[in-house]
Symmetry: C2
Subunit: 426 residues, 2 copies
């Protein structure tokens, strides 16, 4: 899987889609990616928007052909699980889905399913945004008591980045420590990296071959924008991300059962699973269900391009409290006015304010968040104050994470990687 993307809004680059011209992009409307009628570009490798507010998610749902998570679905979710939905769902940060109703129906019928998510390990240290899909995944696992498989696509990173096999594997393990530190139940969680798991479980390669037999170059061209000058590794890779959505990839967990699969991920990963959903029924498997998140904003806000090599573009999980404070104070894009007087008079704009966006993701208290939104919008709360709150909210989360991660030994990690049965409800 690609990284959880930070929003990038640019005037110039949004005119191209994977190096193609605007015309080519329009022509792409006939492909499976659907019509691209606005200037947002969303695929597993590029997320850009020309709009100040970032990607237009309403339009994206239409373009991708997914469904909005509406009040009715949330109500059904809460009724069936008997508890409130996670604040990331309630606040629309997980905003789109495919077949979530089917998963809820399974739960109603007392049947089981499994969760599948992943990460592309392109750097050793994660930023706070990388945690978002794992927060919701852990919450879903706890709520539904189901097994979870986590794929580290180190092969993808070798193919796309200038990374050595050995380094990608190492980064994957470092990332896995961050994931494990969130408290996933080892009895219900299997973590694997493609570059090693492929050589330990024949079912994985066999399913990749089954999938690769169902998909043509024309199709991946349409879905992912691959071209003739792309390496053949990229062209074949989507099958490696698709395979874990078929339960037979993990015979040691699911045996012969064709178990349904729910995938929480950022919406830029949807192309992989549109392809998977097309193939799965042809192989006798249910289509995977999906739960899509929005993108995590870069500190510099909507007008600055994120840079993985730029330590100042994000709060990293390795940052000290001082670094967090400095980064947010210095770099977090403000929706406030240029002077305190103007701000008091006209109010701030939380929609583009990165400190406010961070609070939407990480401040669990709904009442407090609404209070902040109203006060900031009215100009009662100043930029310095909302940044201070963001620092106060993020710092303990990062500190707790660092403390938890310190306790993860290689032996503990190995247990998650071990090929073994998982605890499985039905």
């Amino acid at each position: 899987m690609a990284d959880t993307k930070e929003i990038v809004v640019e005037g110039v680059e949004a005119l191209t889609l994977n190096g193609k011209t605007e015309e080519a992009k329009e022509a792409g409307a006939a492909t499976t990616t659907g019509a691209a009628t606005d200037d947002d570009v969303v695929d597993p490798w590029t997320v850009t928007s020309t709009n100040d507010g970032g990607v237009d998610y309403e339009k994206l749902i239409k373009r991708f052909g997914s469904s909005k998570i509406d009040d009715e679905l949330i109500a059904r979710f809460e009724k069936i699980t008997g508890k409130p939905v996670h604040h990331l769902i309630k606040r629309g940060l997980f905003f789109s889905h495919r077949d979530l109703h089917s998963i809820l129906t399974l739960k109603e019928q007392g049947k089981s399913f499994y969760l599948y998510t992943g990460r592309g390990p392109s750097s050793g240290s994660l930023h706070v945004g990388h945690l978002v899909p794992f927060f919701i995944t852990k919450w879903l696992q706890d709520t539904f008591d189901v097994p979870l498989v986590i794929q580290l696509t180190d092969d993808e990173k070798v193919l796309w980045k200038d990374l050595k096999i050995e380094d990608a594997i190492k980064m994957g393990r470092e990332n896995a420590k961050d994931i494990v530190a969130l408290g996933f139940d080892v009895n219900k969680t299997f973590i694997f990296n493609n570059l090693e798991f492929m050589g330990k479980c024949p079912a994985m390669y066999q399913n990749i071959i089954r999938i690769q037999r169902c998909v043509t170059f024309n199709q991946v061209k349409g879905i992912f924008g691959f071209g003739d000058s792309d390496i053949i590794g990229k062209i074949g890779f989507p099958a490696a991300q698709a395979a874990p959505a078929l339960s037979s990839t993990f015979p040691f967990i699911f045996g012969n059962r064709k178990t349904a699969c729910l995938i929480p991920c950022a919406i830029d990963q949807d192309p992989y699973f549109r392809m998977t959903r097309d193939v799965a029924p042809r192989l006798g498997f249910p289509k995977c269900a999906l739960l899509h998140s929005t993108f995590f904003p870069a500190l510099q806000g909507a007008k600055t391009k994120m840079s993985a090599s730029d330590q100042n573009s994000a709060v990293f999980l390795t940052d000290t409290p001082k670094q967090i404070k400095n980064k947010i104070n210095k770099y977090a894009f403000s929706g406030g006015r240029t002077t305190v007087e103007e701000h008091r008079e006209f109010g701030g704009n939380p929609e583009v304010d990165v400190a406010y966006q961070l609070l939407r993701f990480f401040l669990e208290d709904d009442a407090k968040l609404e209070e902040v939104r109203v006060a900031y919008t009215k100009g009662e709360m100043l930029t310095g104050e909302i940044k201070k709150l963001a620092v106060e909210t993020l710092t303990p989360i990062v500190e707790q994470h660092q403390a938890a991660r310190k306790l993860i030994t290689d032996e503990m990690l190995d247990k998650y990687y071990e090929i073994r049965p998982l605890k499985f409800g039905s």
Copy 2:
């Protein structure tokens, strides 16, 4: 690997190359397959010729850019090994090579190399032509005392044919029994099938990714004629056939050594290894050396299309002596004249006579073969007589093979498949 091809010479089909028109074929001259200035089509899936004598191998050497096995090379070969070359080499049935001189130099220097060959298991029973590359491989192994790896490309057959994973694996094992029956030393021979080995040895997938990172779709388009409507499995597959030419694919045999590799195969497999030779140095490995055979003639001769499902197109290793006799008498294309009188007067043509071609492959006695050639050319020997000799030559070979194969148990076969060190000279 694709099957050892029988020669197919057709007037109509030779005009197309993988479904493309003659123009497209000419345009293909600019690709890495080189100029196709005659009507021979040779790639891993198609072997056709419009010439009565079958494929023009002199032209093929030019087109592929390989080297002819000439008298000088044979003399050096015999000097270094201290014994005569195999009759298949002496008679020009292995006629072309790449870097065979380098392999001989290694031998001179007391350094080692390994042999790599393979088979695509598309049917449970082999015909006698399938044995040819294994005859020479066994002879090379015995002569040089080197380890051998044999790849069964069951994944290829799943991707190209309408075969189930399970059936392809089963066929591979049946084929492996035929291979093992030729007497390969279990201490020096490792047999593996991709659909299972991939899931047992992470180095295999890791090398595939390394190779797939070096090759673009444009390149496989040029080398193999793949198109946009081809499945992505086909596009990625060449890397699976290339990987065993890198010794690091077998860490349990070669450790960290970068050992040179010699590949005996039919020349239709050369495109795979042209690609491999392009990639290997970029990954820090020596280019694999190659020893190319001609194609094995179909019984019906140069004007009839071979059919894998047509039991009468070839002598199968499961045929009874009666079947062999009937098939050769009834179907083997004759280079003789239409009447005995004409034959006595003008003589026969051994070049197109399938019985004579069978003798070239299987009759080891050089003097006897030359005697037959002269007598048949002069008309002293009749078609019935040369066919009788072919039957008498082939029958004991097939009978001995059947007897040897009967003794191969699953347990014996498993030993060849076992991941383990091999005996290795230096």
